[in-house]
Amino acid sequence: MIRNHFRILVVNLSSGKGQIVQLDGRNSEAGGSGLAALLFNKYGLPEHPWNDTRQPIIFAIGPLTGYFPLMSKTVCSFKSPYHDQYTESHAGGRSALSLFFANLDALVITGKAKQLCYVSVSSRSLDIKNVSFMKGMTVDESGKILRNISKGSGHRTTLRIGPAGENGSAMANINVDTYRHFGRLGGGAVLGVKNCKAILIHGDAIFPGIENKEYNKLFEKVYQQVTATDMMKKYHNLGTPANLQGLNDIKSLPWRNLQATSDPAIGAINGERFAKDNLLRNSACSGCPVGCIHVGYVREMFDANHRYIFKQVSYDYEMIFSLGTMLGVTETHAVLSILDLMEKTGLDAMSGGVALAWATEATEKGLISEQESKVKLSFGDSEAYQLATKMLGNGANDFYRLLGQGTLRAAAEYGGIDFACVLGQEMAGYATGEVFFAAQSLGFRHSHLDTGAYTYDQKHSDQDIEGAVDFLISDEAGRAVMTSMVSCLFARGVYKEELLADCLHSIGYPELAAGLDPLGKHIQKLRWQTRIATGFTPEGTTIPKRFFKVKTWKGAIDSEYLNS
């Protein structure tokens, strides 16, 4: 809905009531990342811990959501259980269009329900319903029930948590419509402490069309660019797993807890292999014709008389890295089987895989034993990793509960900090070099998508500290604009600043269109100010020794360059 203010629904689970709030700030904070920071400053308690039930969890969309292709993401912000600081996590699925058609720019959840509940929202309704019977339910079980007891099939989003979120794991995700996630930094635990198992948003509003004739022409132009040209081909062909072979070839793919950056076994789990052996079909986020979601299948014989179960799991580069190469698992079906359990327990698969990789090396070095892990962990043993995943998600004992708070927490207790692959949080799958290691460590979300640092590493063999820093700062501001619209970052090659301005102008946001550069810088600053107010200090960032021993295509990591 085009409007020069924000329309927010604030739901207080303690009182069981909601309130529609109108806020100014469309031309200064835009939406998405900017709006989320604005709302945290209004409703958040920076000096109180993440699990103070008064803390908000925020879901925000932007001014272009619903009006242009690939404007299909939602920004979720909260105080993270991982580092007790402000953060964001992003997801697509149907979440963005559901919020849009629920006639909301953002949904804010505060308080704590007396019993496990789900929140149901549409443009004309708000219900909070008791689902105590869902306690401990896996993500797939709760999803099936929620689908049956709610309305709006096809035009709703189902956000839900698994046992990991209920247990307070700092690696707990929020599942979005089965195949997408607010994955990192523990958003699932924030819903868990609120006794909120799920949020259903039914998009049932109808908005007037755009009378400006330029709008339809521009829509068609963007649609053509994303479907009829090669600009987005890499995302819908093999998808992000195409990068596995390339990064392995340039010695930048982490293997076995980053003890190596390349391995000839890549041929068994690269993008081509997954596409050939396991790709079942593609799927899309609502409003995105690219269809980058790759759904793989696993068939498991559970009875010798040829009785099978069949699982569908969406895979991406990052999960094949974290549950494949990082764990030394080199069979596609084995990677998907571990991933399936990460999904069911509601764990972030990237964090979970990297944590188990550390636990495996800690086992090899005798720092932990089966007394802690309950199963012997060794690189390549997918059966053991499936058991360990269940225990990590369910918080089966003190060891797994501690590991679920972050690899460094467990390493502080058991030893092995030197080989904990943590860059602010468990690393993303890019051992590309010094700039990426520094950028993920210091990045706002500790995400590989905060900046294009891993691409910078691959294009620059020189050591230009000032140039690298300038690139990171400028690139982050540009991405802050994208995540305030809210665009999928896969479309960053399409939505250049000029096109974004044209899009905003065509639907009636001329002031936003005229000031995208200062807007990005303002939101970048606002986000960091918000995070700093919750305790972030760059001086507190350390990079474990393992990263200084990495060898990439450029040779050994230069510790002086990395430290500077």
């Binding site: 035009h155 755009i210 593609n282 609502s286 409003g287 269809g291």
Partner: protein, 142 residues
């Protein structure tokens, strides 16, 4: 005379581009619902998608049920819609056996008019316009 068909709907990825296009270009609205074609999962996202759209019945039960002539029979199947004649009674919605007519909160109804605007916006070529053979009438034969 042509009609919309979805012969390759098993390729659907659930992007909703067809619905959004129909609402935007045909009905001049921004909506998931006010469209002649609407996509939903067929029992959850793991089982793929199905399209709800007019199958071009001839005779069309919705046209027969309409008390004011807002829906009338279209040659080759489906209906011709005259919005000005509609009194928002919803009888067409009830009459349609496959839930292809949508009625919004305020009363207006929306159904596929077989214009084909959605076809070019399907990235997986699920949709197409098919020529309908209309039997010659007695008068035309004579």
């Amino acid at each position: 005379m042509k009609k919309l068909i979805a012969p390759r709907i098993d390729r659907c990825i659930g992007c909703h581009s067809c619905s959004l296009t129909c609402a935007r270009l045909v009905h001049k609205q921004i909506s998931w619902d006010t469209a002649g074609i609407r996509i939903k999962s067929s029992g959850g996202l793991t089982t793929g998608f199905q399209a709800n759209y007019c199958l071009a019945c001839d005779p069309a039960p919705c046209a027969a049920a309409c008390p004011t002539g807002a829906f009338s029979q279209r040659k080759g199947g489906g209906v011709i819609v005259k919005k000005k004649l509609c009194i928002h009674c919803g009888d067409c919605v009830t009459a349609c056996p496959i839930d292809a007519v949508f009625q919004d909160h305020y009363g207006p109804v929306y159904v596929c008019i077989h214009c084909g605007r959605c076809v070019d916006f399907c990235p997986h070529d699920c949709l197409e316009m098919e020529e309908v053979k209309i039997p010659a009438t007695t008068e035309e034969i004579s």
